[in-house]
């Protein structure tokens, strides 16, 4: 998260709307530990990462959907879960749970 601060500060000073996604839990093998974070601004600019590159694209789409939609924080799961709500898998076969929220705090 520390690595994100400079970009987030700049986006804030430019008045950009920002979404923050953080890994809150992993099941099986996951490339990044809980706490790994990425931020996406309204223009689709990205800083940070939450996996080894497997799900970042999908997270950007989710983040922009949230910023342009209901703006409500939510849990998002990637990997092979029972509900298979998200088709994007991780190459390592693990499951990551992300918390996605607008950075309005």
């Amino acid at each position: 998260m520390r690595d994100l601060l400079n970009d987030i500060d700049r986006w804030k000073s430019e008045g950009k709307r920002i979404a923050l996604a953080r890994v809150v839990d992993i099941e099986g093998s996951g490339p990044r530990d809980p706490g790994a974070a990425m931020a996406v601004n309204q223009d689709g600019e990205v800083v940070g990462s939450v996996s080894g590159g497997c799900v970042e694209g999908a997270v950007v789409a989710e983040a922009l959907g949230m910023l342009n939609g209901d703006n409500q924080p939510r849990l998002v799961t990637f990997g092979y879960s029972d509900d298979e709500a998200f088709a994007v898998g991780l190459t390592c076969g693990g499951i990551i749970h992300l918390f996605l929220q607008p950075l309005t705090w």
Binding site: R2, L5, I8, P73, L75
Partner: protein, 267 residues
């Protein structure tokens, strides 16, 4: 509510802080910022929940651990209290300063150990009483190189050491080892490793007993001979053996410490 500026400030200053977020249950997205010695900022929506979560968060910061915890809407934590209530899942995102490794003794093994410790993210302090050996030039990778006897350093900064930190005593010299061990035992440091052959260790135990260190509770904290039994020979391999032991102790894994085996260290 603006938590971000305070969070960014503390993170940049390397001061411990945690962001607490409700990720599931009532008040999803509610946040608190917790830092030791400071009033909690923000609220999760219930004062009792705030109090319990703040208390748990301080523990997580001290452990340097990021986790998800479950509570009742009013901070209930016992399973029977949680039976008929919706569960609040709270993400505790803890930011702690890097763990610290103090290395006593400016020897060949020190440079290798300092290098490996840096790879693992430690703040590394090298300390030796001999001015000619404890130099920046010899340990450019260390964060600090101090010319000091162990006792004054441990007296002035020992209280900074916690469960995530490590002290590695590589001097082999009783007049340095013994006060370093004594002083380290007086701290809350999580790992104390002491280098030396089994024979050296046996002699050291006698010296320690002479100065009153002989209780099982104290001696159990000493990893000596230092490191895992992986057949390390070079300074670099020994550094890996030491750092692996530190990791295994922290995670509670059953890796073979030299301390707990018999026979020659080098075969």
């Amino acid at each position: 509510m603006s938590l971000y500026p305070l969070f960014a400030q503390r993170t940049r200053e390397n001061k411990p802080v945690a962001l607490v977020t409700v990720i599931d249950g009532p008040n999803i997205g509610a946040m608190m910022l917790i830092a030791p010695g400071m009033d909690a900022q923000g609220t999760l929506g219930d004062s009792e929940l705030d109090r319990v979560v703040a208390r748990d968060t301080i523990g997580e910061i001290e452990a340097g651990r990021t986790s998800v915890r479950h509570y009742g809407p009013n901070g209930q934590i016992t399973p029977e209290d949680l039976l008929d209530t919706p569960t609040v899942r709270v993400f505790i995102d803890a930011f702690a300063p890097p763990p610290v490794m103090w290395i006593f003794g400016a020897v060949d093994f020190t440079a290798a150990l300092a290098r490996v410790a840096k790879v693992l993210g430690y703040y590394v302090v090298v300390c030796d009483a001999r001015e000619v050996f404890a130099t920046r030039r010899r340990f450019p990778m260390a964060d600090e190189v101090l010319v000091s006897w162990p006792a004054p350093l441990l007296a002035s900064r020992g209280s900074d050491l916690g469960p995530r930190d490590a002290v590695c005593i590589l001097t082999h010299d009783p007049k340095f080892d013994v006060p370093a061990i004594q002083g380290s035992l007086a701290t809350n440091v999580g790992y104390i490793g002491v280098m030396g052959s089994r024979k050296t260790h046996a002699k050291r135990l006698e010296r320690l007993a002479e100065v009153g260190v002989h209780g099982a509770k104290d001696l159990d904290r000493l990893l000596s001979p230092i490191g895992l039994d992986i057949g390390a020979r070079t300074p670099e391999e020994t550094a890996i053996s030491i750092c692996s032991e530190i990791i295994a102790r922290r995670t509670g894994r059953n890796a073979p410490s030299l301390r707990d085996s018999n026979g020659p260290i080098h075969r």
